[in-house]
Subunit: 417 residues, 2 copies
Amino acid sequence: MLWSKFFIPTLKETPQEAESISHQLMLRAGLVRMLIAGVYSYLPYGLMVLENIQQVIRQEMDKTGANELLLPALQPLELWQKTERDKLLGQVMIKFTDRRGRRMCLGPTHEEVITELVHQHISSYKQLPLILYQIQTKFRDEIRPRFGLVRSCEFIMKDAYSFDIDEEGLDRSYCLMHQAYERIFTRLGLKCLTVEADSGIMGGSLSHEFMVPASCGEDLVWLCPNCAKTAPFKDTDTKQCSVCNTNMQKINTIEIGHIFKLGTKYSQALEAYFQDEQGRLKPIIMGCYGIGVSRLIATIIEQNRDENGIIWPIEVAPFKVIIIPLDVTNSSIMEKASVLYQKLSQEDIPVLMDDRNERAGVKFKDADLIGVPLQLILGKAVQEEGLLELKQRKTNTKISADDSVIFSKIKEAIYER
Amino acid sequence: MLWSKFFIPTLKETPQEAESISHQLMLRAGLVRMLIAGVYSYLPYGLMVLENIQQVIRQEMDKTGANELLLPALQPLELWQKTERDKLLGQVMIKFTDRRGRRMCLGPTHEEVITELVHQHISSYKQLPLILYQIQTKFRDEIRPRFGLVRSCEFIMKDAYSFDIDEEGLDRSYCLMHQAYERIFTRLGLKCLTVEADSGIMGGSLSHEFMVPASCGEDLVWLCPNCAKTAPFKDTDTKQCSVCNTNMQKINTIEIGHIFKLGTKYSQALEAYFQDEQGRLKPIIMGCYGIGVSRLIATIIEQNRDENGIIWPIEVAPFKVIIIPLDVTNSSIMEKASVLYQKLSQEDIPVLMDDRNERAGVKFKDADLIGVPLQLILGKAVQEEGLLELKQRKTNTKISADDSVIFSKIKEAIYER
């Protein structure tokens, strides 16, 4: 991609509307723009980040044998009346009456719809276990949307649902999802904590939250500074670690994932029964597993940045390399830049070329801001000695070398993680 | 993918709710399920089809230099009041008041939102031309949703928007999109007609519709049976072809794409101005370009099917090959099936293995129904003579041969189009 052909409106100034650092950087790096409070447009660069995150999630979900589908946002309210969750969700749920007089809502989550679908198609133990998931847009009428994509009214979630014949089956599915979540968050460059949590409006017997420490986080968690054990935050009394007796500390976190053992709450309410081996009719045992996909963008930035901007983890980075020719009026430098661009593209390494006629300082600042992991700088040394300069965004280390050394360094950085 | 691990509920009987052949086949082949009238869930197989279609659209859009982004479904109604389209759309637009008292709507299209975005970021002729597009979910409160995905209340569109400094620029952008549409529809296996059309609620000076002949189509078009010239259908008087004077025939079609020269309607209403080379302030000249993405699934099926089921065009097919071992209790046949499955997977050829313990008749019927282009059948001849059977779904031709011949035939069918 050429910068001149890419709609990436970076900002020098920090927008006043942004309260958190990730929100500031998302606006400054041209990832998103606010339409109204809690509602955002993903600009091209932001969408590329989003797609890379979704790719990692899909790969890890598919590895567990889960099947991806796509459920609708429009839902009949009567489905929610059957589980009585219309009352529980209250004003958070966006409701309207359609022109034929039917009460409708926009799905804030999909337990009801998926259970209804499974009810229609699963009737025997032979068809179980089954895990279904989707990556889809949810709607919630937040009273106080905040921090850009962290708490918004229209957001993208990965929601998975497991269907089993018994508690042992649910344990296996729950464990599969738990492990997949660990792999996903590691690949996305996140250090996260797991906390046993309240099941809240979902219901069910057990749940775990995946929490990322971040100064703008609004969810408090007890963390032992000695052994890293966590505990749910329920009251303000200082808690003692159950492992090492140390006084625990209260830290701010952002919730990025939540997994629940639901049991039979939804299958009973919506009559999703199956016949077991003895021919007895039983409610399907369910679990549900969410990841806040759009929120992940903000969270990854909170943990992967410095004073100059974003530092994308390799798997998330839309471009692995940015080529920066310092003087675009110099034809021999531009020829060299073009050869390098072709070569990287041919090797399927996503590359951005800053072909703008801007001062070196502007280009360096923008390259740091938008967080491309590797900067390939073409200055005077290219012409004089045939040397390229490679800067690692994360470590700020630079090397000067010829093409072949630089290329092997690039591949090392991308593939040898 | 193994059939036994794939959530693909095929139906032997034709569901009563389905009025058109494509709708019947979509339900029978386990592509979609209705939640309520006009609202559908994509099951895993349907989602795979949808993603392949989106992939083709993205590739052809990106070739034109267009940038992909993602705009929100939630929109403030005031934006629509500025262009006065809130009145034009009337009850088709889903509206509600949020809990803070703001009048909101669900986007039935995005001219207003994208013009507002461009208004914020484009100020100079140097930043133009620009083409932005998205693949996104739209909402319309249809009074009479019909034919499954052909006319539904929640549907997926590709909508692109071009921004130019003058009419010549708009002509170029319009032509680029027109050509991209031709390539997209050809790759998707569709024979379509282009018709000069009414601009309707979009406004603007010129528009073209892309229409696919289909018996269930509700849009009438005049077509010359002699020279294939088309004309828009405006009245019922028989029209004469302007090229060859033949009496034109009225045919039923489905609209799959519509491109518009919008001019300055939106840029003026929303103050999207730019400075030209002389420093004069001018409204940006716009075009918009839509494709009904979810509707394409139905349309492709209408044109690519026979009495036994769907016949996916190669680019659309989620699986290019289905391996059908006729006796899954025979371990040597299953071993052979497994080796073939591995080999195809290693070559990145998407393959489905029907590992169900079902009668041959059931397997053949399902394979035809779900429309996999190539069927690789392992019957008795595998054991006795080492021969595989390859059936082309489209032509119904079969060959028996050894592995190497069969593999070269498979690659020929997939890559040498």
